[in-house]
Symmetry: D4
Subunit: 243 residues, 8 copies
């Protein structure tokens, strides 16, 4: 069915069919899965784990059974409880993401992921897991800073060598890295502001503002700490290019 959507036959009758196609699995009567999303975009279900307790997460994963599902922003301790309740999951500690179900082959193209500092790595890893869940390979360069600009050149060369379709640039504090990366890059760059910093503007606002103000064309951004969103978009770009 994916192809028909991509070919553009979607009309109201089909919308209705999609509606019925939604199996509307419910958890406690109030969770409606959007089954057709994966068809439309090749994006697996992602559950925002930060505000859910381990019981709810476990229940959701059981319902999903073997369909690929990511749960983001889950700390190690909470995962320990989830693991005791559901089989067949694994945990990417650096990304704070639970993966349930089978990850695809990484054959849909390549993206680059870079971070300014070490504190930005969890968000970068979240982006990596997201992209890989969509079949896209990632080349990563972490802690390449901006205070030491000469350190950017080698990673930039390697990403261009890998023919990346897009670059995810992750930075907190003053958030200058995505601008600098974008100025050197021939492909789109997606900036991810990170909530590291202190004082005025220190919850990621300074970084976000920097990316929004950037005068480097080719740079767009997502909200603070949204590694999932950046990874998904970069992967969509790679998939589009890979057809």
């Amino acid at each position: 069915m994916l192809s028909s959507v991509q070919k553009g036959d979607m009309d109201i009758a089909e919308a209705e069919r999609m509606l019925r196609m939604d199996h509307l699995d419910s958890i406690g009567g109030d969770v409606l899965f959007d089954e057709s999303r994966q068809l439309r975009k090749n994006i697996p279900e992602v559950v925002y784990g930060a505000t859910k307790d381990y019981g709810t997460i476990a229940e959701i994963l059981k319902k999903r059974s073997d369909k690929l599902t990511l749960v983001s922003k889950v700390d190690e301790e909470k995962y320990a409880y989830v693991k005791s309740l559901v089989h067949g999951t694994r945990y990417v500690a650096d990304a704070k993401v639970i993966i349930s179900g089978k990850m695809p082959e990484l054959d849909k193209g390549t993206i680059g992921i870079v971070t300014a500092g070490t504190s930005d790595i969890p968000i970068a890893e979240e982006a990596r897991v997201m992209a890989e869940s969509m079949g896209v390979k990632c080349v990563t360069f972490y802690d390449i800073g901006v205070a030491g600009i000469h350190r950017l050149i080698e990673p930039m060369k390697k990403m261009i060598d890998s023919d990346v379709a897009a670059i995810v640039a992750v930075a907190g504090m003053e958030g200058a890295l995505p601008t600098v990366i974008s100025s050197l890059s021939p492909v789109p760059v997606i900036g991810v502001p990170v909530s590291t910093g202190y004082g005025m503007g220190g919850k990621g606002e300074a970084a976000l503002y920097s990316m929004l103000q950037s005068c480097s064309l080719g740079l767009t951004c997502v909200n603070i700490d949204n590694g999932i969103g950046a990874g998904a978009t970069a992967a969509l770009i790679a998939i589009g290019r890979d057809r």
Copy 2:
């Protein structure tokens, strides 16, 4: 030279060469053009016209002679003065953009551009001119609203039929359109918040916040009223796909 950059041979020696390659045309001794940008990204020079008087704009365009240059956010009256000083320019009134130099063939792929209301059209047109200046074709659907959701379906079908590589979704007020478009779209969507609205959040902040908070994967955004940035990124995605 473009190919070598894209193949990844860029090293420090080459960076130095690029540096020399910058002809450093100066206007009054203080404007350094970044000649190599077009090579690296296929993006023409864009001058932000809002804060420059007509004399400065004219001087810049003369220096650039026949190289493709866009000047954004120029109102009709200011253009009249510029026109009297420089030959060979034209003015896209809906986009408030001056084009100087020859626009390329539109053979690098296609993007979609949609707006929520009529007030959003100038920003959408800015995006269109930008994308076309990079050789990318645009299919546009303006004023498709969000208060009347049933009006979205036809444009969505047509964009998918046109095999767009990315969609630019432009919206002021509450800025819900990009989220809705992204939920229906198999390709990346770039949201552009517009500074229409009133009262609390009415200078585009409400629209920007909506796009940053959006739970629809595949949506990134640029700053308020930045049609140029959105058009450039969408076009880069199309060019990447078109290779």
Copy 3:
């Protein structure tokens, strides 16, 4: 006396009488109940529980004896303590509300309550308990999203079938649901922004701004997480219609 107030005979002499009618039950000398409120508006006493300890809550409920009283924003653990001190209460866990006293028949009309996601349910349930405490029936549709717009149509049909007098639409994140619901609804919609989200605008501001900016006529809103206020207003509308 209710009828006379509603018929408009209130004058200063009566205001004075009302004043005397206030029995001014005091707790530790400093809590003055506003007994006449229930007369004027048919709204039971609501105590904001978030900032009160269990001892204070218990004391208030004892004073109120069998008069209908709601205590909002009370977590399960705090209720356990309250319960050990006062008899005759019950706890609506999904709404985090304690009910003390007898709830009325649900014979004063009907309202609809919808949520965008599962995280919004506690606030929606708070609105439901509030409306029911005023004798108004609620039809609820939770987690109907906005990213999957086709899922809105069925709930919309059912609410119109139930002849709802008003709809409470509860949404966090980008808060687009109330706008979309309002665009499809022939009755007033009350938007409730919810403090779910992340990064810039993520404490409910993005959702609130969206609702304030909405271009859909018929939509008003309350403050972030104020399910009580939205439920009370929707119920007042139903009661007015039901006379």
Copy 4:
């Protein structure tokens, strides 16, 4: 058709029919009217005039011919130009609203409108014109202050005597009036913050915050200066009650 919508027969087939029913009158190819809105909600087309020049307004009104249309936030000078281009309009100077087409009988119920000061009157008048355009009668009490609380009692009595279905309370500065009105009122109150004031919070934010924080149940609000939205919602409540 209104009745069938209100009876709940709307299904996807009908949605499609509605879609076709949209005549999609276009102005310069980019304005799509939402004809079905009046059917669904009994609300005439409202055009936001503040950001449109007189030529565009005139063109829109000609297209609409004799269908009832309001244009808001138009100053006297701009109206003079519009008037010279289109026949059959009239201008409500206090409300800064142009009315084109025939206003309905005022037989759909009654609402009250009050203001704190004289500066709030234009917004109150905007609400009045909006409500009257939906067939709802308005009783108004302007400049009743809050600094002189004893002045509130008489208007309150008269509104209750008139059996108003809802009250629109308009206030700038510290915005306390809607809270006070709501505490005395047996019907829903819609607060409209006004952009009068000075210094910190003086563009209507203080008034908006006051209304959002209000502890008086039955009060909802709209954005700063949105008289149109408040009038439309109050009228919807009156219409619902009047059936």
Copy 5:
């Protein structure tokens, strides 16, 4: 010496003398007491306890020995530790204030203190203890609301009967009480916004903005939760009047 200051003989020589007069008691070498403050203003030393641990507080109180000292924002548990280390203190639990040293006679005049709700009482009590430490008597009326305006009249009468020199009006949420009190009061009113509330503006900003925007002449304000400052100023007014 007080009288000479008040008579205006202060010159640079005297400033130098004052400097020497500062005994510069040091705690760990880094706390310089400003001994002359009590002389200049009749205000005892006030230590902000919120950010100091019990050890530091105890050490300060020992140094001060029997001179009157208040420590504000100290919770019960912390006081228990302080008490075990220093003799001769007492704790006003409602105000969260430690008093060390002898309180003066209450013979310097009278002020009124009112609160809108019960949550505002700790701040009001802080103001009371402060004023009493300066020899000023307080008449208090707590939880007189604003949603039930008729409840304001009795307290207002009693304060005027007591010939108060100033009124401290304490309110969180929408903060309307000080405006209303000031509109009825012949003496200066000092508004204290309180950090109770929720959502947008709910940390006391809404209340502060209301007080700043108030159109009632005679109202000034202090920062959020600053009961000490309001009590001190009201007491200074009473002392001035009492001479």
Copy 6:
């Protein structure tokens, strides 16, 4: 009647009488004067002139005939028009205030007024005119800075010599003056932040925040540029002391 209010005989019957006493002079049907205010507080009517055109101001002044009235924030040009329409007014250019009616004797006590810079003088003069309209004498010291602290000592001495009942301290930029003045003053200080400054915090917010954060007891404040409010409060303090 003033004395009876101050003696506290106000009851509901009297409130009703006051209500009738309001002659409710109307201008165009919508301006209700609060005649009893002068009785209750000795404060003349003050009209905020910034947002009113000269016609409206003239009409108000005619209605008031010879009763003392101030119109604030009126520039010289607007006054020229007002003057041509109403007799018997005069204009205090430094304060931008129109005075209509007879000013009282200055026999109700004394206050001090100081400014940090020359830009703060118009606001200080506004405070002076206000206080004088209530019969209170003012001693003023303008441009005494804070960057040159040694310049504060002489004015401070002179104000203490004049036995001022309160000091109004006016400052823009970083707004440190009121804190410094209050630290040296035995009487209450009312800070007025002024909207001079630049960049971050430069519309008076920095000055307001400074005054709110001040650790000097005895300092309260009003909103940005509110010289009228500060003058009225300082005068009320002087009047209270002068009885």
Copy 7:
């Protein structure tokens, strides 16, 4: 006398002498010059011209007669009027600064000044004039960008060659330049955010936040557009080094 201050003999007696030394030239009775400032810091009088009319500026300059005085933020048109009233001034158009009196020899050391774009030049020039008025030489590099990082290296080399004591780095938009410059610089860098940009953070806030968040040690900043302050501090550093 300068040397004695620098040697540390300042005591209270001397402070008093300084006080008398203040000649307290007054303009209209309300401008007190701080004559001793030049002695203490070697900084000429700087008058903020933006909020003063040409008459006031002319009057101030006449009073100052031949003492060195700068007037900042004066546009060309306003200067034309000033010039017609006072002799012996000159105007630095790029800096929008009037210079009155004799500038010193540039023999007190050297600083560097760089800008990111051409829009930042007026602020940079303001810094240059300020530093030169203190006898410090400036080497300047304007429009060196950050989007083209390779363009930074040459200016950096030249500033180090010139042995600059400090660098003023001026940037609007995302404000990354000062961070990058500081990372390459062995001397202190003073960042000046500029009010160029657009949308969210576009009035210089994004640039200011970037500089405050910068992780590059050695970077401090001044407020938005404060070229005067940055130039003065950089010059003070050079003067200290030059002794």
Copy 8:
């Protein structure tokens, strides 16, 4: 190599050499130390400890072995764990800083450090440790207030006597101290706002705004609580002067 950098021989070849010089010690593959920073600026490595757990800190310190390293914002408890894992460190409790490696002789000049209150001392101590780690001596005066201005004179005299090259002025609350210090000081002052305060502006914003708005030339600032940054810059100034 330091001298060659300072003499300005840095070219691209050297930049490349520097690049190779970066030994790129990695911790877990993702931490790249910037070894050349110490060479370029004489600043030791500083690790921001607040967001790192004790294990990571220990690992970093082991890698660094005997090279001078500071770890900031580490509380006592966390240090206890670090200490158990790494030898040869010491802890400056007042500054919350771990020092690893050998501190230099204090022979590079002198700076002054002052605080307004006792709460500001930890940030001042952080600045002191930073400056000493660069070989600069510090004279400190803590809790000199601003509410008691006469207490500033003695410290000011002593700092001038010590011939300080710069002064770090640390203040929370209303943050007036740096302005006052700068007005008396012949050398540059670096303001550090501190996150002490309460209510509106109480997380250090009021203090930061004050410093940004300050009209005293010679004052720059760093972000809230950034003692490290202020100490480093002041030390750089001293080192430059000391050559």
